[in-house]
């Protein structure tokens, strides 16, 4: 069953807890929840009896994206450990970045972030990453270049001055990508802003594995669901 906020009782003022109670009463096997507020999915999970998959909560986490990214990397490189992964762009607002920082570090990669300081969260230096403010430095020797989406409302003078300035200094084009290893992978969690964080020729180029990420997304989420259904069938959470 699919339920979206726009057409549900959430719009009519129902609180998240009430929604959780209602959903719980339907006795589902699994809830897959995406929410705009960080921590909302965890809050909901406390109130229901079934398994809950976090499909993205605010700027907090997006665990299955990190799993599918790791799977995509491993398929190409045969390992994760010791690889240099540069996560570039709007780290401040990105749940994808946070999940990848956690997972890739756990798997032994060297994780870097590359962004203007206005798009980096406070304390980023202590999150287990190396921080760069210039693409040429941050991409040097990278095995994986992971681009993040910059939302439109953040482009025009709020966090960065303009699209053309952002693309000039932080958009992934051939010149900047040349700093990475020649066999580097180019990744993007989608949806892409072509000409903002990534040039079309790169997104569609030979180093891009962006479509494969989508494919791995299906596999990873199938696996997650299968695992959780198996767990709940055994009654052994």
């Amino acid at each position: 069953m699919n339920m979206s906020v726009a057409s549900s009782s959430v719009k009519k003022g129902e609180t998240l807890i009430d929604t959780a109670m209602t959903l719980n009463a339907m006795q589902p096997d699994i809830l897959v929840v995406r929410h705009h507020s960080a921590g909302a999915v965890a809050l909901l999970a406390q109130k229901v009896a079934c398994s809950v998959v976090n499909a993205g909560d605010g700027a907090h986490e997006h665990p299955t994206q990190a799993l599918l990214d790791a799977l995509t990397i491993r398929r190409h490189k045969g390992r994760i450990a010791t690889l240099i992964v540069a996560i570039c762009g709007d780290v401040l607002h990105s749940r994808v970045a946070r999940s990848n920082i956690l997972l890739l570090n756990a798997l032994g990669a060297e994780v870097r972030v590359v962004a203007p300081s206005t798009l980096l969260p406070s304390g980023i230096e202590e999150m287990g990453v190396r921080v760069f403010r210039r693409m040429d430095e941050g991409l040097k020797g990278a095995d994986v270049v992971m681009m993040l989406r910059l939302q439109r409302e953040r482009m025009e003078g709020a966090f960065v001055p303009s699209v053309r300035e952002y693309f000039r200094y932080f958009g992934l084009d051939a010149a900047k990508l040349a700093y990475a290893r020649p066999d580097a992978l180019v990744m993007h969690p989608g949806p892409m802003n072509r000409g903002v964080e990534i040039a079309s020729e790169i997104a569609d180029g030979p180093m891009s594995v962006i479509e494969e990420q989508v494919e791995m997304g299906v596999a990873v989420r199938m696996a997650v669901i299968e695992y959780l259904v198996g767990v709940s069938a055994e009654g052994n959470p």
């Binding site: 403010r133 709020a158 300035e165 200094y169």
Partner: protein
């Protein structure tokens, strides 16, 4: 066109970048200083050189004025780049940083390049446009600090305005830091200043004029200094006017922040009493303060708390100044009187000559990242030859600026610029 080489002999050379104050010879060739110092005396004269006897005269690096308002584009009736440059040359000023409060606002690369191009074609001195911090000076969206920096913009400022939104200020400072850009800010809280037109206090009260409290300057200044600590941005307090402001700048410097400060020549020379009976040429922003504050500015300049002196040259149409005080425009011109007015502090013994010259040459050049403001060999030959003691009265007919709103009209000075040289080319010579 190749300029003839220039040799100035037996001249007192004051070059703060090298802490040099000695009689010697200056040799200029191909627009560059070849030698300048006592040991250059035995240097042969280049063929065809113009030779000047500098006996009794002093050679300074050409002045760098980091706060100049110009009317071009959009207000050419007040001042053009060319007319401002003539005023600058007459004042021994060889480099000016122009403010972005033009029409259109200097807030993108195309307009900055227009100013640089116009300056190349029409100006006698070096012109460096500062760009706005926010698009259209509207205080909403930051400008393209990266692209502007790459285009040659040396500083970012809201000109006369102060950014009200602290979150936006923080973000701009954070972004500017990544590009090594310097943020120059005049700090006046517009809401707190309200409708004030001069310094708040007894004198304003007797005149029946609404006052601007000192806190209108100090509150946004302290805010900015805290944000400078948070963001580690290069911050320059453009124009402070209060002893308390100097104290908070000094404290920020003690904390090791990358902070500098400027003061206008007006606030070193004048106080609120100069407003007299509603003299609108003395309506300035920030307003002229109490004598105690002026003395504190002089002391802060002498001890280095205040890094630089600016003219804050701000041409205004006579029609906009010949109004009741509270309705008149703020601002005064100052390019031509910057050096003579500053030399009063040397003649009075308040500030040593070396420090005074530093605050108008090498210190602003360092803040802006210019290779000028010094006479060291290899530098572009920007210099002013001055008779430090020659007296003159600054009468209106001397004013080369297109606007005549000088706060020093009919002032008596000791210290006249006799010749100004920009990149080896003489751009001004005093008559007689």
């Amino acid at each position: 066109m190749t300029e003839r080489p220039l040799v100035v002999e037996k001249v007192r050379i004051v070059d703060p970048a090298r802490k040099l104050d000695a009689v010697g010879t200056i040799v200029v060739e191909n627009g560059v200083i070849v030698a300048a110092g006592p040991d250059a005396m035995n240097q042969g004269r280049p063929d065809g050189a113009t030779v000047i006897d500098g006996t009794g005269l002093t050679a300074l690096p050409g002045l760098v004025d980091a706060r100049v308002f110009i009317g071009e584009p959009g207000g050419e009736h007040r001042e053009t780049i060319a007319s401002a440059s003539r005023a600058a040359a007459a004042g021994g000023v060889t480099s000016i940083l122009t403010m972005p409060d033009t029409d259109p606002v200097i807030d993108d690369v195309a307009i900055a390049e227009f100013v640089m191009r116009t300056a190349r074609d029409t100006a006698l001195v070096n012109v460096f446009p500062a760009a706005a911090l926010t698009k259209g000076l509207k205080g909403k969206e930051m400008t393209e600090i990266g692209l502007l920096t790459d285009a040659g913009v040396k500083a970012f400022t809201e000109g006369r305005k102060t950014l009200a939104d602290p979150a936006l200020m923080r973000r701009i400072m954070t972004y500017a830091r990544d590009f090594g850009a310097v943020v120059m800010h005049e700090t006046t809280d517009a809401a707190l200043a309200g409708g004030g037109v001069m310094n708040e206090g007894l004198y304003a009260s007797w005149l029946g004029l609404p006052g601007i409290p000192g806190e209108a300057e100090i509150i946004p200044l302290e805010r900015d200094l805290r944000l400078a600590a948070l963001t580690r941005c290069r911050y320059h307090a453009a124009k402070i006017s209060l002893g308390e402001s100097a104290a908070v700048v000094a404290a920020a410097k003690r904390r090791g922040l990358s902070v500098t400060a400027g003061v206008s020549i007006n606030h070193l020379s004048l106080n609120e009493n100069d407003v007299g009976q509603y003299r609108t040429y003395f309506r300035l922003s920030p307003p002229l303060r109490r004598e105690a504050d002026r003395l504190a500015m002089v002391e802060a300049l002498a001890d280095g708390t205040i890094d630089i002196i600016v003219s804050s040259h701000d041409p205004q149409d006579a029609d906009d100044k010949r109004r009741p005080f509270a309705e008149a425009e703020t601002g005064a011109i100052g390019l031509e009187t910057l050096l003579p007015a500053a030399l009063r502090l040397y003649h009075s013994g308040a500030v040593p000559l070396m420090r005074l010259v530093e605050a108008m040459t090498s210190a602003p050049a360092a803040i802006l990242g210019l290779d000028r403001g010094t006479l060291k060999p290899g530098a572009p030959a920007d210099l002013a030859i001055v008779d430090l003691d020659r007296p003159f009265v600054f009468t209106e007919d001397l004013i080369r600026s297109r606007s005549k709103n000088s706060a020093f009209e009919n002032a008596r000075f000791a210290g006249q610029v006799l010749r100004t040289v920009v990149s080896g080319r003489t751009v001004f010579e005093a008559a007689g």
